[in-house]
């Protein structure tokens, strides 16, 4: 694969507003969101920071969106041409999450059309991590802080600018949309890239050494089942806010919600849901009936962790946790999933 060099001005130009293309890039970490941005300079700065505070899953699966209308004005929303999207600065952990979401929404019994169209319309420009948060732990779950697959172009921030490894034709087209004449990376630059990657991986490994477990797609920690009250040690600090699930790049639970737009016109919305909430499993039923299979909060917390570490490998042959650590940062009760796995693994 070709690796090219581009200076910061060139990258900023690539990220600038373009007719007919939505470019998403992370905002610097004091802002939270992924921006549909025209400010290339700010985005280039964010690429040198640790992974964005929010995952980019909302680009493909919005927190709330219409899945269609029915009644008099029946129809499916936005069947119109899906605009090309460029998502820049995607980290290796996020790419693993996208691979996971693809398994769920594209490769199951039913394929989600809207998700498929958005994924197909996306040019993925990933970026090596050259910094990390204290909660980053990709190396504990079989990952690395640089991408190895799933991108069109992968960026490496160097002091003087960026290296761009071109993996696909459409990645090359995107890169050349800022003009031709890019030089190939020098051997010195490639050597510095490899050293940066190795250093970064060592740093993430070192900050997680104390957790002492190693999991990946084919190798999972032995956790107790969701009836084991040992989970209560952690659920005692859970306030059921759902932040961990909403910020998680692989969590994808939702519920369908109907609203009337008029007497004969209705819309169905798909809204993010959270398995920690007491209403999540709630069924209809009368007195004496068991209305939820997991009335205890500790069972719901266990179900979430088990889904990541035990059920997903069986369902999709992928571990469901990519080690981004966002749930650790987001948790109001300071529950650290690394500590949960460490303490409860047998």
């Amino acid at each position: 694969m070709t690796t090219l060099y581009l200076d910061e001005a060139r990258l900023a130009a690539l990220l600038a507003e373009k007719e007919g293309i939505s470019t998403f890039a992370p905002a610097p970490t004091d802002a939270l969101a992924w921006m549909d941005t025209a400010d290339g300079q700010t985005a280039a700065e964010a690429l040198r920071q640790a992974r964005p505070a929010q995952s980019a899953k909302g680009i493909f699966l919005a927190a709330a969106e219409s899945v269609g209308r029915y009644g008099a004005q029946a129809g499916t929303p936005s069947r119109t041409e899906q605009q090309t999207m460029v998502v820049v600065g995607v980290r290796a952990c996020e790419l693993r999450a996208w691979n996971y979401l693809d398994k769920v929404f594209l490769e199951g019994t039913f394929k989600d059309d809207a998700y498929a169209r958005r994924r197909e319309a996306t040019i993925t420009v990933s970026c090596d991590c050259v910094d990390c948060t204290e909660s980053c732990f990709c190396t504990l779950v079989g990952g690395q802080p640089h991408a190895t697959e799933g991108y069109d172009v992968n960026l490496t921030p160097l002091e003087e600018g960026f290296l761009a490894e071109v993996a696909t034709d459409r990645g090359r087209e995107w890169l050349e949309s800022g003009g031709s004449g890019l030089n190939e990376a020098t051997d010195d630059q490639l050597a510095r890239r490899d050293a940066l990657r190795a250093d970064m991986a060592k740093r993430v490994e070192a900050q997680n050494a104390a957790f002492g477990f190693q999991a990946d797609d084919g190798n999972q920690p032995g956790l107790p089942d969701d009836a084991d009250e040992a989970w209560g040690r952690f659920s005692a600090d859970c306030v059921e806010c759902g932040a961990c699930t909403h910020i998680c790049p692989t969590c994808h639970c939702f519920y369908l919600y109907d609203q009337a737009l008029g007497p004969e016109e209705f819309e169905r919305l798909r809204m993010w849901d959270s398995c920690l909430l007491s209403t999540y499993h709630r069924m209809a039923g009368g007195p004496g009936m068991k209305l939820t299979p997991r009335p205890a909060l500790f069972s719901r917390l266990a179900n979430r962790v088990l889904h990541k570490f035990a059920y997903s490998p069986q369902q999709y042959e992928l571990i469901g946790c990519v080690g981004c650590g966002r749930c650790i940062d987001a948790c109001l009760g300071a529950i650290d999933i690394r500590q949960v796995v460490k303490e409860l693994s047998r």
Partner: protein, 272 residues
């Protein structure tokens, strides 16, 4: 799938409302396109603008133009469904799930155990089996309801048991004036049950507590977990294995069920 967009219901006209018991009605709906389904597969029935709930049709899968859905009044959506009038347009999505493994019934004794409104999905199975009894050796139906008035499809039992291969026994929970049949919960009908246990499949549907005790009784009677299929009760939103709510361990009841082989799920907690 009945509709092009799998999230959106296709219109279905309510053509008949049958008062089955004081708490149960059967709504017969005519979907805009015939609904091809296997016995045990389920649909999401919606009231436009209000929401939807999962139900397994109670009519034979060979009737695709008019589908019967038997509903216990037990919550917000079912309250509304009980108020519906013929001529009204409802919505239908599906079918979802795998349905009963009818192909595995060949040459076997079939034991059907129902509790309360749980007889509804089982009726689709019973009717499908009755249409061609040559494939199976026997069909034994055991059914329990809370009281006489709550016996579902009471006018049809005789007809089901017309063939010598078929027998039907029911019970109500407590003695009641005017009732000279069996009393006690449905598990009492399973003691020393007269089927060829080594060559039998059991299909069970009812409330959670009934599923639990029926399963334990069947195991005591010598049935292996692999012989027992349970219609699991779980919250389901999408019906397609995407929304996450209905899991038992790694299984999504909507996609892998709703009738689950007990051997697959027995080692997970919170099954019942």
């Amino acid at each position: 799938m009945i509709a092009e967009n799998q999230y959106i219901p296709a219109p279905a006209e309510l053509v008949q409302v049958i008062d089955e018991t004081p708490t149960i009605k059967t709504l017969v709906v005519a979907p805009s396109r015939p609904l091809e389904f296997r016995a045990g597969q389920f649909v999401q029935l919606s009231i436009p603008g209000a929401g939807e709930a999962p139900f397994t049709p109670s009519s034979s899968p060979s009737r695709t133009r008019q589908v019967a859905i038997t509903i216990l009044r037990t919550g917000k959506i079912t309250d509304r469904l009980h108020e519906c009038q013929t001529g009204q347009t409802l919505g239908l999505r599906g079918p979802f799930g795998k349905g009963y493994p009818i192909e595995k019934t060949a040459g076997k004794d079939i034991l059907v155990v129902g509790g309360g409104v749980g007889l509804a999905p089982l009726r689709a199975l019973i009717l499908a089996l009755l249409e061609d009894l040559s494939g199976i050796k026997r069909l034994s139906i055991k059914y329990g309801a809370r009281c006489m008035e709550e016996l579902l499809y009471a006018d049809q039992y005789e007809q089901w048991a017309r063939d010598p291969k078929v027998d039907f026994t029911c019970t109500i929970d407590n003695p009641q004036e005017g009732w000279d049949g069996r009393t006690g919960v449905v598990t009492t009908l399973l003691k020393d049950v007269d089927v060829d246990k080594s060559n039998c499949l059991c299909f069970v549907c009812g409330p959670s507590v009934m599923l639990k005790f029926t399963t334990f009784t069947l195991e005591e009677e010598g049935f292996a977990p692999e012989q027992i299929y349970l219609s699991m009760n779980r919250r389901m939103s999408c019906g397609m294995g995407l929304c996450g709510k209905c899991n038992i361990g790694p299984y999504y009841i909507c996609k892998d069920g709703p009738d689950m082989n007990y051997a697959l799920i027995k080692d997970y907690p919170n099954v019942f």
